[in-house]
Amino acid sequence: MISELTRGERRLALAVLTAVATFGLALAIAGRGDILAVHGGLIMASAVILMFFVIAGFYAPEPGEERLAQYYDTPTKAGVVLAMIWGVIGMGVGDWVAWLLVYPDMTFDAAWASFGRLRPVHTSGVIFGFGGNALIATSFHVLQRTSRARLPDQFSPWFVLVGYNLFCLIAASGYLLGITQSKEYAEPEWYADLWLVVVWVVYFSIYLRTLMRRQEPHIYVANWYYMAFILVVAILHIVNNLAVPISFGSAKSYSAFSGVQDAMTQWWYGHNAVAFFLTAGFLGMMYYYLPKRAGRPVFSYRMSILGFWGITFMYMWAGSHHLHYTALPQWVQTLGMTFSIMLIVPSWMAAANALLTLNGAWHKVRDDATLRFMMLAAVFYGLSTFEGSFMSIRAVNSLSHYTDWTVGHVHAGALGWVALITFGSIYAVVPWVWKRPAMYSNKLVEVHFWLSLAGTLVYVFAMWNSGIIQGLMWRTYNEGGTLAYSFIDSLVAMRPYYIARAIGGLLFVIGAVVGLYNVWMTIREASAERADAPDAPVVPALARSLQAGE
């Protein structure tokens, strides 16, 4: 890794790590006596460990100019492995909290093992750890291929990847320690938030710098989606996290917003996290890897553009559907509901575009589990967006809100769409960047596919049932005009579904473990082959034929 950096970049790496270590030390000192000191120490320790790596490789020979004739894929490789590891951890903790809902006593009387602390480890682990790393890894890959340009330098992609994972680590460890600003999907405190802003600005700059050097006249649509993801997440993150810390020595901060404004800001953020983190970026993945794997250009490029602007502009207004029947003015709720219903149009454009691209390649879908992952993801994308539009109708939401129906919807989206498109893309990209003809075992990809499908279906059906029963029980009155069921009655009714959900989740986790193993073995094969390779330099294929349109 270090040997791929130029001497100047190694120096830069050391300088940045020194700055980060100093920052960590300052936090630790200012925060002594506060839980903040733990995170100061963690930041410093991470930076110091990385410094050792850089120093150990500092005097390795510099990379030659011939590197510029190749794409720079090592950060993509690292990102894929990190995504799979975070995936197993995040989904594993998810299944843990699922069992915790079946056996609420399973907390060993320890604060860190309570539901309230473990749940955000799950949500951040899967959304940011798994999803975020997969987005970063694939975006670097797609960006280079579609621009036909190498990343602008070797250092900044590592800064983004490592810095981002440091953020994830601070987030997850903080929850276990009890550090949270209690904004859903934005739980990390002010210092972690500031750090993420720095990382994100560098991430966006890599995108711009590479695109500026691109060889293609037109920016391929996948990049638009990735850029919308990066840019809008930056805006959301900064606004929603505006807060004032108690002091620079305290982990605790207070939000700049309060009351219903706070709620609206949070759900403007929350819903657009769904839109731009969990949708736009993954649509970027879909629009590249699916046509590529199927060997067919996307069915309608125009539809992908229309869909892009529809999604970016309409999602912005949909957040208030999370606040039906609250203190939020009625017209704002109605506005959110209207935009949510309209959203079905660009969403189904994307889903239909994916499925129509496969028209004529169905035999490949049958034979190739990787492509089947992507196909099924498009189906679940269509399903969960339809469901979302439906649930945002005020009358429907009065039944679904606060119930497991929402959880069912979330996981139709998160397992069925986000995770499946990610696994499909990872299985496509791993052999590609490690220069293997195929994954270590296609059988295992097949096994993973069926485990994922079974797990998702069991999960989602359990939660749909449970949610609707819950919603109905909460609104059933007896002749006297009082509620027919107590809250405890509804909890007892949920139990069988919680068991089913935990089993479905387990299937999904096992699938992810199988996937990690398969990726790992593919990498091992690749390095074994490299060790066997004859002792001659690889000549990069510089001579390539010019094509029409260049």
Binding site: Q70, R145, T146, P217, H218, P291, P297, Y301, I305, A541
Partner: protein, 55 residues
């Protein structure tokens, strides 16, 4: 002084027009005849790219 009603009136009127303008622009861009070739080229270009950069 900007009060709630002013803001609401502004967002309800301005919001409507800017969204319509934006929709018209996007549809025009997407279906502009001279863009057709560029789009089709872009869709095809990812299928048969080689695995080395131009720069």
């Amino acid at each position: 002084m900007i009060d709630h009603d002013t803001l609401v009136a502004f967002s309800k009127s301005y919001g409507l027009f800017y969204l319509m303008a934006m929709a018209i622009t996007v549809v025009a861009y997407t279906f502009w005849p001279s863009n057709k070739e560029r789009f089709e080229e872009a869709a095809k270009s990812i299928i048969d790219d080689e695995d080395t950069p131009c720069r």
